[in-house]
């Protein structure tokens, strides 16, 4: 962990106007929950449709994707990554600093509104369950998308394909793929932490816990390895 790199990354991420475009998503999540409650929707409908359908399935992966590929990907894109690479800093520390910043930003932007929305739906315990589950999800997704941004030149598109096709379509149709789907780990964490019966959990807690750690470590390790042999090139097609 290198504080200077973390600081530069955080500034590069948040100091730009476009990062404020992330804000509407949490607002929409809370707003929709409020509308649902105003129409006296059932808690189970809200948990399934809004908290999971919108929060866990859409907002969490997309925020993590934009942030996770942005921390390193934008520097690779405009070539300024050279300045970091030429400093005598171990690659693992660069990756660690980037990962911490990405995970923190994604976790704050998703877990806080999820906590608020889930508390509105089913009390503080459900709120804490969803909030903490989103923190865990943000860490895994950040590690995966950080690794993607060093593995491929088009990390956002590969990440989108993964989110839309693997997490969105396959893991909900082909049930066997759920054991390797971050979305279902998050749902399982939320279910285990809140003890709520509003929504069914789909994988076992042990599998979710172990796989979360495995994916995070694997992502960070892969990113470090790829950054070791990284060759700087201009923008290609």
């Amino acid at each position: 962990m290198n504080m200077t790199i973390a600081w530069i990354t955080a500034r590069g991420l948040l100091g730009r106007r476009r990062s404020w475009l992330l804000l509407p998503m949490p607002v929409i999540l809370i707003g929709i929950t409020a509308i649902g409650l105003a129409f006296e929707a059932e808690a189970a409908d809200l948990a399934d449709g809004v908290l999971i359908g919108l929060g866990v399935a859409v907002i969490l992966p997309l925020v993590s994707l934009i942030v996770g590929t942005g921390v390193l990907g934008s520097e690779i894109d405009d070539g300024t990554v050279v300045h970091i690479l030429t400093k005598p800093i171990p690659r693992s520390r660069i990756i660690l600093a980037k990962l911490v910043v990405a995970a923190t930003v994604s976790a704050v932007t998703t877990a806080v509104p999820m906590f608020v929305a889930a508390t509105m739906v089913g009390g503080v315990r459900l709120g804490l369950g969803f909030g903490l589950a989103c923190v865990a999800g943000a860490i895994v997704y950040s590690a995966l998308f950080l690794a993607l941004s060093v593995v491929t030149r088009r990390p956002v598109l590969v990440g989108l394909l993964y989110v839309v096709i693997w997490e969105g379509l396959l893991s909900n149709v082909v049930t066997g793929t759920r054991t390797v789907s971050v979305q279902h780990y998050v749902i399982e964490f939320a279910s285990a932490l809140s003890g709520s019966a509003l929504f069914p959990s789909t994988v076992s807690t042990a599998v979710a816990g172990v796989m979360t750690v495995v994916f995070t470590v694997l992502g960070a390790w892969l990113a470090t390895q790829r950054l070791r042999v990284f060759s700087v090139a201009g923008e290609t097609s």
């Binding site: 929409i28 809200l46 919108l54």
Partner: protein
């Protein structure tokens, strides 16, 4: 002293040929846009993403044809194909729309375009038309495939004619999808100069609306609210028009014409905003 200085005639001439003008430029830009959408004339890397999506949509049609040949049952009608493939179409938009407009912003080539006879509106409309055509081809191609597969298994000429009518209906629905989706996507992409960010923004706008609409529709419990709610997502807006025209999708009640109007309005507003966006292009 020095030799007498002379001016040599080295053959400078004025261009006297035909000047192809604005229409030709706009047409070229459109044609180039369609080629870019499919990565034609570009490196293999540029072809990967569009053709992954095309492959997936085509395989959907192939499955339909295979099942139809085996069991005689059509598991997916021509008109259902666009809505089944709509998430894939969104990925296609996220790949292609930034490629068409964000690249020009990033590489600052717009001043070069606009120093030609090409008008600003021509540029915007050519890009929009190129994307809409590409998206339409993405859906209409597999529909044609389904038609060919079904036509060969049909028993008589009237069966083939029925299949052809079905395909034309499917093409109408595909056109609706293409116009609604691409006008929105080009508008979003034209604001972002970074391709990655434009792709993310398109997906966020498209995906965030559908759970919201789903909840509102569930809240309405089949009443007026659940008939109106699908209007607010680009995924379900064309479906509503399909329901109005053919009555083959979800229940829209008496609001069919409203769906038609909102669709028209959505396309018009997005196009106008796009034209407005290119009124002033800073360096």
């Amino acid at each position: 002293m020095s030799e007498r200085s002379v001016i040599h005639d080295i053959g400078y001439q004025r261009y006297t040929g035909i000047r192809l003008g604005r229409g030709y430029a706009a047409r070229s830009l459109f044609e180039h846009g369609v080629r870019v959408a499919f990565g034609l004339g570009r490196s293999a890397k540029a072809k990967i993403f569009p053709w992954i999506v095309i492959g997936l949509v085509t395989s959907l049609a192939l499955i339909v044809v295979a099942v139809k040949a085996q069991t005689g049952e059509m598991i997916l009608t021509y008109q259902q194909l666009p809505s089944t493939a709509s998430v894939l179409v969104m990925v296609f938009l996220a790949v292609v729309a930034p490629e068409l407009v964000s690249r020009d912003l990033r590489n600052q080539t717009l001043p070069l375009y606009f120093s030609r006879p090409l008008a600003r509106s021509d540029y915007a409309l050519a890009k929009l038309a190129a994307l809409a055509t590409a998206v339409w081809l993405l859906m209409a191609g597999p529909q044609l495939l389904m038609f060919l597969g079904s036509a060969f298994t049909a028993e008589n000429a009237s069966g083939v004619a029925a299949e052809a009518r079905g395909m034309l209906g499917g093409w109408v629905v595909a056109t609706l999808y293409a116009l609604v989706f691409s006008s929105l996507a080009v508008l979003i992409a034209s604001i972002a100069s970074r391709r990655a960010f434009a792709a993310g923004a398109i997906v966020v706008v498209f995906m965030i609306t559908s759970p919201v609409v789903g909840l509102l529709a569930a809240l309405g419990e089949g009443g007026a609210l659940s008939q109106i709610a699908p209007m607010f997502s680009p995924f379900s807006l064309p479906e509503g028009v399909r329901s109005w025209l053919y009555g083959t999708s979800f229940d829209v009640g008496p609001y069919g014409p409203v769906y038609g109007l909102v669709t028209l309005l959505s396309i018009t507003v997005c196009t106008l905003l796009l034209l407005l966006r290119y009124r002033k292009v800073s360096l």
